[in-house]
């Protein structure tokens, strides 16, 4: 393998608190040297990153690759390539496939598919309960042996509090988090969008913030009781951020993630019955967005995760109430979030931290840094490049984006996974 040298980029590596212009040397797929000027040896591949940001490959703790079972929506082959285009080198896939990933052979199947057909690293998440039915525990220990990085019934909330307590107790010695989709199903019943005047106007059943918050509160208390690591998926409300903050102040082992759309889009997007803006949890209000951003800034929220949820055209080209929930998010993540940086809501190093060291820490520090000796997962992006979202050009099979036609600023131009270029946009690589 040739040496790879990334020259003159602004290197931002939050895990090592590093932010300076310099070079990176990659040898044998491993980060060798960071920051100081590297002189190119003969035959080494040089990438000019002048004016660009160079950072650890992004880590997505929450996405849906749909395989097995829903290959019309996405496959591991298309999903991982879409992720690489979005700057990701490690992605964790949710187990709500068909069949759901609730046992060892299925986890092994997904892992082997990912090795054969995936462009980047895929880390599966196993179900908490068998079949995601919320009735009995899945084979958690066995799946942990196969390398799942946590347990989640994502899409479903584990309604039975006693079963959730057992899951937390059981997961604790395995050293893996319970990743909970916090939504009380009774409060959210028939819900199509955020509760409020827009839902009233559209005649759609609303989902109140409390549907999420009562679930967050319960699980925080169970985490306190059991000492287990609770990770709360896709936080969407101000109240959830406050609960998480409360929990962290009491040293309860809880972490949280937020999705790009919940940081940037409000419920108004649904007007006109725009099924592309139908997502669960639903798009909320400006007040919630502000609280979520505050949560990122004060460390309450640890991670930004896409909740990439690809769907086929017909899943969305239908009545709002019949449409599938979810946003295809890999390929617009950076562009949509860079607006928060441009408007001064968050800093660029903070954004990168939430996409690299934040999720990396949850994964035991194995990924999300440019520490010498680490596997060379590197993302290079142009923070100033403007581009227009055209879902027809998505690599993902899921063209379902509420950002269609919008101009975003900030574009990934090169993704390196394990020392090899897995995505390149318009940069010239000699």
């Amino acid at each position: 393998m040739k040496d790879l040298i990334v020259k003159n980029g602004r290197i931002i590596d939050p895990a090592n608190n590093f932010d300076a212009v310099g070079d990176i040397l990659v040898r044998d797929g491993v980060v060798k040297q960071v920051g100081t000027t590297v002189s190119a040896g003969p035959g080494s591949e040089i990438i000019d990153a002048r004016g660009k940001v160079v950072c650890p490959g992004f880590v997505d703790l929450h996405c849906h690759l749909r395989q097995p079972g829903y290959e019309a929506k996405e496959t591991i082959a298309t999903g991982t390539r879409a992720a690489a285009k979005g700057g990701f080198t490690t992605i964790c896939c949710m187990p709500n496939t068909n069949p759901p990933l609730d046992n060892l052979p299925l986890v092994e199947f997904v892992k082997s598919l990912a090795e054969k057909e995936g462009a980047i690293r895929v880390l599966p998440i196993g179900c908490i309960t068998r079949g995601r039915k919320g009735e009995e525990l899945s084979d958690m220990a066995e799946m942990s042996g196969a390398g799942v990085i946590g347990f989640s019934d994502d899409g479903n909330y584990v309604k039975n509090a006693r079963l959730m307590k057992c899951a937390m107790e059981y997961s604790q010695p395995l050293g893996l988090p319970i990743i909970e989709h916090c939504e009380d199903p009774d409060l959210a019943i028939d819900g199509q969008m955020n509760e409020g005047i827009i839902a009233t106007r559209l005649g759609l059943c609303g989902i109140p913030n409390a549907a999420e918050e009562v679930a967050v509160a319960r699980d925080i208390l169970l985490a306190q009781l059991t000492g287990a690591h609770l990770h709360i998926a896709h936080l969407s409300t101000k109240g959830s951020v406050e609960l998480l903050r409360w929990a962290k102040q009491r040293d309860i082992r809880v972490t949280g993630e937020v999705a790009p759309h919940h940081l940037t889009l409000t419920e108004e997007r649904v007007l006109g019955y725009n099924t592309a803006a139908k997502v669960n949890p639903p798009l909320r209000t400006k007040t919630d967005i502000e609280a979520l951003i505050d949560g990122l800034n004060d460390g309450t929220i640890d991670i930004i995760a896409t909740d990439h949820a690809p769907h086929s055209l017909n899943d969305k080209l239908c009545e709002f109430g019949a449409a599938a929930s979810g946003i295809s998010g890999f390929e617009t993540m950076l562009g949509s979030l860079m607006n928060l940086v441009a408007t001064g809501k968050i800093t660029l190093p903070l954004l990168i931290a939430k996409l690299t060291s934040g999720p990396g820490r949850l994964l035991g520090g194995r990924f999300g840094s440019l520490t010498p000796g680490a596997t060379a997962d590197i993302t290079i992006f142009d923070p100033g490049a403007e581009w227009t979202v055209d879902s027809g050009k998505f690599i993902s099979k899921g063209k379902n984006t509420p950002l269609q036609g919008e101009t975003l600023k900030g574009k990934v131009i090169l993704t390196v996974f394990g020392g090899a270029v897995v995505f390149t946009d318009d940069v010239k690589t000699p």
Partner: protein
């Protein structure tokens, strides 16, 4: 006012200024002049309905399809009657509710009906916004005959016409809408239409059956009031409109029971006495007699429930007529 002689196919072009719409999906996006045009056209249609021969050739050679994904007696019958008075051929189609979420997509169904030869499709659908999803994909004119909790535009127009007919004006009237406001497309469309036309609308019902966010929606619905006490709500009202209560509301825990609803929200003669002496009583039907309306109020002198039904035919004739005209532009 449009004179009845004008209601001939060739006259349609005269409306091109005020009437540009191909579909009637909602009342929310109607301008005041458009609503006024519908009212004027409805008057002309009422005149036709008063003739011995209640038929004009405006829609001769056109096919109107009613496509109902939900059961309906009066709305469907009203549309069918309206289309027939205008000499259209009418085909009634009933879709299975089960095919709403499974099987053939709505867009495919509508395209099939178009291929059969529909010029105007009148659709009722249990999911809010179904018409919005379909409209960009159909060439026929699409008329919303009710979608989910969202809208029932022709009902709002016939209610407006009925009030206008009885009161001579809308602006400044106190109109109280009572009952299951949250799940009522009739209420939703009436709120839009009546506030747009300058009425003071008060919605009243048990807290579980009131929609969220109305109180603070003064920009959308100027002057709207929200009240849980019916005595306060109906005081000095010019119009009281009771809504149909669905049995499911009790089963799903939104209401303790019928007795409670009747005690709290039925319009009886005692409550009617709190309204203005010349107030009118409305209901979109079908009425649960002695639930929303006490029998003596329903059948009493203030009730305009039957007028609503009669006016419904004229309003729907007006809508079909205006749409057929727009189609030829």
């Amino acid at each position: 006012m449009i004179r009845s002689e004008q209601i001939e196919p060739c006259a349609a072009a005269e409306h091109s200024g005020a009437w540009a719409r191909r579909h009637v999906l909602d009342i929310e996006d109607f301008s005041v002049p458009e609503i006024e045009l519908v009212m004027q056209t409805t008057s002309a249609m009422k005149e036709i309905l008063s003739r011995p021969l209640k038929k004009v050739p405006a829609l001769r050679g056109k096919t109107v399809v009613t496509l109902f994904y939900e059961a309906s007696t009066r709305t469907r019958g009203s549309f069918e009657m309206a289309a027939k008075h205008l000499s259209a051929d009418v085909v009634n189609m009933t879709a299975q509710a089960s095919s709403v979420t499974k099987g053939e997509s709505l867009i495919n169904t509508l395209n099939t009906i178009e291929a059969i030869g529909a010029d105007i499709i009148i659709m009722r659908h249990p999911l809010s916004g179904a018409h919005y999803c379909a409209a960009p994909h159909v060439k026929a004119n699409l008329v919303n005959a009710g979608d989910g909790w969202h809208a029932h535009p022709t009902q709002a127009l016939l209610d407006l016409y009925t009030i206008l007919n009885r009161k001579g004006r809308i602006a400044g009237l106190k109109v109280v809408i009572v009952g299951d406001v949250k799940h009522s497309r009739v209420a939703h469309s009436n709120i839009w239409c009546l506030t747009k036309m300058g009425a003071n609308v008060v919605v009243c019902g048990p807290p579980t059956l009131l929609p969220e966010g109305l109180k603070t929606a003064q920009l959308l619905f100027p002057g709207i009031g929200v009240e849980t006490n019916i005595e306060k709500a109906v005081k000095d009202a010019d119009v009281v409109m009771e809504l149909r209560l669905q049995k499911e509301r009790m089963q799903s825990g939104l209401l303790p029971g019928l007795r409670d609803f009747i005690a709290g929200y039925q319009l009886d003669s005692k409550r009617l006495a709190l309204t203005k002496p010349d107030s009118i009583v409305m209901h979109p039907g079908p009425v649960n007699e002695d639930v929303e309306l006490a029998a003596d109020v329903l059948h009493g002198g203030r009730s305009v429930v039957n007028d609503q039904v009669t006016n419904g035919v004229a309003v729907r004739m007006a809508i079909l007529y205006l749409l057929a005209g727009s189609r030829e532009q």
